[in-house]
C-alpha cells in the first residue's frame, strides 16, 4: 500500500540527527546479527597473550585473558543489546498492560496496582536488583525478569497517566456503551492513542535498561563470564587505563554512542507525532 515509499520519503525529510541515530542503530544491529561472520576469532577463544597492544593480528589488542578485543566487542553488542531489548519489551508489556488496566478499570484495581508500584519504586532499583539477583542467581532469564519487573514500574506510571486522559473521552464511553470487552477497549481505543508517548519512552527506557545492565555487569552481577558483555569488559580491563591505554573505554564508548543514537531517533519521532497528523 505504498508504505515503503512513504517511509523512504519520511527518511529523506528526517533531520541529520535522526539519520545519524538510525545509522548507529542499524550498524549495531548489523554487528549483533552478523558477529560470527565479521569477527576473526570465536567469542571466548584465548588467542594470544594478555593485554597485547593494537596491531596487525589483533586490531584492538587482547583483554586480560588474551581474548581478541574486537571479536568480543562484536559479540558484546549481540549479548548486551539482545538482552536489553528483550528486557525492555517485557517491561513495556507488563507496565503498559498494568497501566491501561488501572486506568480503564479504575477503583480498587487502580489502587492495588498503583500501591504495589509505589512500594517497588520506593526502593532504589540498583540495590533492589542486586539483592534479588544474589538470591535467585545471575542466569540470563533471571536477569531479564528482574530488570523488566523493576523497570515496568516506570512504564506503568506513564501508561496509566496517558490512558487516564484517554478513558475520559467520549469515544471510550461509546465503546463501553456498545458493550465492547475490556481487552478490545484497551487494544483498539486506548492503545493507538497512547502509542506516541509510549514509543518515545521505549527508546529512553531501552537506554536505561542498557546502562543498568552494564552497571550490573560492571558490579559482577550481570551477564556472567565468559559471555562477552560491554559492562564487564570495561571492568575486566579497567587496569589498562592507568597505563594510558584507551582500550577499556571502547565498550564504554559503544554504550554511549548507542544511547545518543537512540535518543536522536526518539526526539525525531516525538516531533513527528506530536501533531497527530497522518501522512497519506
Amino acid at each position: 500500500m505504498g508504505n515503503g515509499v512513504a517511509l523512504l520519503k519520511l527518511l529523506r525529510q528526517a533531520p541529520w540527527s535522526a539519520r545519524f541515530g538510525l545509522f548507529v542503530i542499524f550498524l549495531y544491529v548489523f554487528m549483533a546479527v552478523f558477529a560470527p561472520v565479521l569477527t576473526p576469532y570465536a567469542e571466548t577463544e584465548i588467542v594470544g597473550a594478555e593485554y597485547e597492544p593494537w596491531g596487525e593480528e589483533f586490531m584492538l589488542g587482547t583483554d586480560n585473558l588474551g581474548r581478541d578485543m574486537l571479536t568480543r566487542l562484536f559479540y558484546g553488542a549481540r549479548n548486551t543489546i539482545g538482552i536489553a531489548f528483550i528486557t525492555t519489551c517485557l517491561a513495556f508489556l507488563i507496565g503498559a498492560v498494568g497501566g491501561f488496566l488501572a486506568a480503564v478499570l479504575g477503583g480498587w484495581m487502580d489502587q492495588v496496582l498503583a500501591r504495589i508500584v509505589d512500594v517497588v519504586m520506593a526502593i532504589p532499583a540498583l540495590i533492589f536488583a542486586l539483592l534479588i539477583l544474589t538470591v535467585v542467581g545471575t542466569s540470563v532469564p533471571a536477569l531479564i525478569l528482574v530488570i523488566a519487573v523493576l523497570d515496568s514500574t516506570r512504564v506503568f506510571r506513564l501508561a496509566r497517566a496517558v490512558a487516564m486522559n484517554i478513558v475520559v473521552m467520549d469515544f471510550v464511553e461509546v465503546a463501553r456503551l456498545r458493550g465492547e470487552k475490556l481487552w478490545w477497549v484497551i487494544r483498539k481505543e486506548v492503545l493507538p492513542n497512547a502509542l506516541p508517548p509510549l514509543v518515545a519512552e521505549f527508546g529512553l527506557r531501552f537506554c536505561f535498561v542498557f546502562l543498568f545492565l552494564s552497571a550490573l555487569s560492571f558490579l559482577g552481577l550481570g551477564i556472567q563470564p565468559p559471555t562477552a558483555d560491554w559492562g564487564s569488559m570495561v571492568r575486566d580491563n579497567a587496569t589498562l587505563i592507568t597505563f594510558g591505554d584507551v582500550t577499556p573505554l571502547l565498550p564504554a564508548g559503544a554504550i554511549a554512542l548507542l544511547t545518543v543514537g537512540v535518543n536522536f531517533v526518539v526526539d525525531w519521532f516525538l516531533h513527528k507525532t506530536s501533531g497527530l497528523r497522518d501522512e497519506q
Binding site: M169, F171, L177, R178, K188, P192, L276, R277, D278
Partner: protein
C-alpha cells in the same frame, strides 16, 4: 440603542482599519484568512461582527487591539486607534493602550481568570499597573461596577475566588474588569456563547447597560445573529474572511440584501410537523420513578423521581439549564450510572440497571450521540472502522457486505462514500464529524437514539442541517429520539413532546403544542422568554416586561 455621541470636539472615528489582511499558519504554510477588510468604529458605537467559525471575526476583533494570535500575522492594511497607528507602534505603546484604553472580554471567563487570585485583586491589577488609580480607589470602583452590572452582594463578591461564583457572574465580573480603566473600546469575543439562555439574558442586559452608561465603543463578536441584534448599532456579516454585508442593525434584520444573511436570519425557522401520538402502542422507553445520585446512596442526589416515556418514531426533548440533571438522566438510562431507585422499561421489559448486565441486543437498540464530535470519535480510526465496528459487532456483517453497508450509511448521512470512507476524524469538519457519529449510531439499527446536545457545538447553519438530517432519518427509519438540549430553538424545531427539568426534577411535561402555548409553568416561561429573537428590540422589551412583573 441610540448612541449619537459624534458631536464632540475630538475626532469622531475611534478605530479605523483599512484593507486589513491577516495570514494564518497551517501545515507550515501561510494562508490568507482575512482578505482586506475595512472597519470604522465611532466613539460610543457598538459594532457587531457575525459569521460562522472560520469567518475570521475573532481574528479581526483582536486585530483591533493591534494584536495577532500566535500562528497569525498581520500582513497588510492599517489599524489606527485614535490617531495611533497600531501596526507601526512599539510594543511599549501598545502595552500602555491595552487594558487602559482598549479592553478585551473573552468567551470563557472561567479560563481567563486566574483561579489563584480573588476577583477584586484581578480587577485592581490593571488600573494600579497603569497608574490610573490607587489600590483603594480601584477597589471602591470595583464595587460600583459590580453593582452596576447587577452582581449579587456587590460589596463582598469581589473577595471570592473565581470558582466560588457562577459562570454568568464570572462573565459580568470580567466585563467589570474590562471597564476598570474606563476604556474607549472593548472587544467582546463571544462572551455569552458558553452560558445558558437564562443566564445569557442577564449578562447581555448588564453589558448593554454599562456600555451605554460609559459611552464605550465596542466590537461584539458572535455567531448568533439574534444576540448581536440586541447589542449592536451596526452589524458586519463576515464569511471566509470577506465582508458579506454591512449596515445598521435593524436594517440588516429587516431588509437583508445578501443570500447568506437571509440564511442566517432564517435559521431556526425549521419546524417539524407533529402528528398526534398513537397511544395504543407500548412505549419504546418508559422511565418510572427514577432517582440517581453521584457517590452512592449518601451522595448528592441529582435526579428525583423522574417519570416519562418515549414512543416509537417520536422525539422527546429534555430541556433545562446546565446542572438540571438532563445529561445524568441519559447516563442513568444507558446504564452508565445505575440509578438509586426506579426502573427503566424497554418495550415493557425491565432493563438491568448496570451496563455490564445488559445483553447485546438491549445495548444495540439504544444508541447515543454526543455533544462534542471531536471527542466522540477516536482520532486514530478511519471512518470505515468507526462505522464498520457496530456493523460487525452487533450484526455480524463482514467483508464486502460490511463495506456495502458502510457506503449505504454514508449516503444516508449525505457524505460521498468514496471520498470519506478512508478519512480520519482530523480530516473532517465539525458538521461532518457529527454526521459520522450519527452514522455510527444508525449502524446498530437502533430503535432509540439519545442525542446529548448534539448541535450545541456547531455553527447555526450547520446545526440546522444536522437537525434536518435527523428529522429525515426519523421519517425514513422510524427511530425515536430523546433530545437533550438547553436550546429552546432546537426544541421548537424538532420535538414532539417536551420534558422541562429543573434541579433534577421534572417541572412540566407534555406535547410540544401544550408546553409552548400559555399558560406556562413559571420556569418554562423564564426559559421561553430568554431565547433571543431576531428582532433588535427584543432584549429591551423583555427586560421591561420582567420589570413590570417584578413591580406588581
Amino acid at each position: 440603542m441610540s448612541n449619537k455621541s459624534g458631536s464632540g470636539a475630538k475626532t469622531d472615528i475611534l478605530l479605523e482599519m483599512r484593507g486589513l489582511t491577516i495570514e494564518g499558519q497551517a501545515d507550515e504554510q501561510w494562508h490568507e484568512i482575512v482578505h482586506g477588510i475595512d472597519i470604522e468604529l465611532r466613539r460610543g458605537e457598538v459594532l457587531g461582527l457575525i459569521g460562522e467559525s472560520g469567518a475570521g471575526k475573532s481574528t479581526i476583533g483582536i486585530a483591533g487591539m493591534g494584536y495577532a494570535r500566535p500562528g497569525c500575522r498581520i500582513v497588510g492594511g492599517s489599524i489606527v486607534f485614535d490617531g495611533i497607528d497600531l501596526i507601526t507602534a512599539s510594543e511599549e505603546t501598545k502595552r500602555k493602550l491595552r487594558g487602559s484604553r482598549i479592553a478585551y472580554v473573552a468567551q470563557s471567563a472561567a479560563a481567563s481568570f486566574n483561579p489563584a487570585h480573588k476577583l477584586i485583586d484581578q480587577f485592581t491589577e490593571s488600573p494600579v499597573q497603569h497608574g490610573i488609580k490607587a489600590r483603594i480607589e480601584a477597589e471602591a470602583d470595583a464595587k460600583t461596577l459590580y453593582r452596576r452590572l447587577q452582581l449579587p452582594d456587590p460589596d463582598t463578591i469581589g473577595y471570592r475566588y473565581p470558582h466560588q461564583v457562577s459562570g454568568g457572574q464570572l462573565q459580568r465580573a470580567m466585563t467589570a474588569m474590562a471597564m476598570s480603566c474606563r476604556p474607549d473600546l472593548i472587544v467582546f469575543d463571544e462572551p455569552t456563547t458558553a452560558l445558558d439562555v437564562t443566564t445569557q439574558i442577564e449578562v447581555l442586559a448588564a453589558m448593554k447597560e454599562v456600555v451605554r452608561q460609559f459611552n464605550t465603543a465596542a466590537i461584539y463578536i458572535t455567531h448568533d445573529l439574534a444576540v448581536v441584534a440586541q447589542m449592536a448599532d451596526r452589524i458586519m456579516v463576515l464569511r471566509h474572511g470577506h465582508l458579506v454585508e454591512e449596515g445598521r442593525a435593524h436594517e440588516i434584520m429587516a431588509r437583508p440584501k445578501e443570500d447568506y444573511t437571509r440564511q442566517l436570519i432564517a435559521v431556526r425557522t425549521f419546524r417539524k410537523e407533529s402528528e398526534g401520538q398513537n397511544d395504543a402502542e407500548l412505549p419504546i422507553l418508559k422511565v418510572e420513578n427514577l432517582s440517581a445520585s453521584y457517590g452512592g446512596s449518601g451522595g448528592l442526589i441529582v435526579l428525583k423521581n423522574i417519570d416519562f416515556e418515549i414512543r416509537r418514531a417520536r422525539t422527546v426533548a429534555v430541556v433545562g439549564e446546565s446542572g438540571s440533571g438532563k445529561s445524568t438522566l441519559a447516563r442513568a438510562i444507558t446504564g452508565l450510572l445505575p440509578p438509586l431507585q426506579g426502573r427503566v422499561l424497554y418495550k415493557g421489559e425491565e432493563l438491568p440497571p448496570a451496563l455490564a448486565r445488559r445483553g447485546l441486543d438491549q445495548l444495540r437498540r439504544l444508541q447515543m450521540i454526543y455533544q462534542m464530535p471531536d471527542t466522540a470519535l477516536n482520532p486514530r480510526q478511519r471512518v470505515r472502522d468507526i462505522i464498520g465496528r457496530p456493523l460487525g459487532f452487533y450484526l455480524g456483517l463482514k467483508g464486502a457486505k460490511q463495506e456495502g453497508r458502510i457506503k449505504e450509511l454514508l449516503e444516508m448521512i449525505e457524505l460521498e462514500p468514496k471520498e470519506f470512507i478512508n478519512r480520519f476524524p482530523g480530516e473532517l469538519s465539525g458538521g461532518q464529524k457529527q454526521r459520522i457519529c450519527i452514522a455510527r449510531a444508525l449502524a446498530a439499527e437502533p430503535e432509540l437514539i439519545i442525542c446529548d446536545e448534539v448541535t450545541s457545538a456547531l455553527d447555526q447553519l450547520v446545526a440546522e442541517e444536522i437537525l434536518k438530517l435527523l428529522q429525515r432519518l426519523q421519517d425514513e427509519l422510524h427511530v425515536s429520539y430523546m433530545f437533550i438540549t438547553h436550546d429552546l430553538a432546537t426544541v421548537k424545531a424538532i420535538a414532539d413532546e417536551i420534558v422541562v427539568m429543573l434541579q433534577g426534577e421534572i417541572v412540566e411535561q407534555g406535547a410540544k403544542q401544550e408546553i409552548l402555548t400559555p399558560p406556562h409553568h413559571a420556569y418554562t416561561e423564564l426559559l421561553l422568554s430568554s431565547v433571543p429573537e431576531m428582532d433588535s428590540g427584543w432584549l429591551d422589551s423583555v427586560l421591561e416586561k420582567r420589570k413590570a412583573i417584578a413591580a406588581t
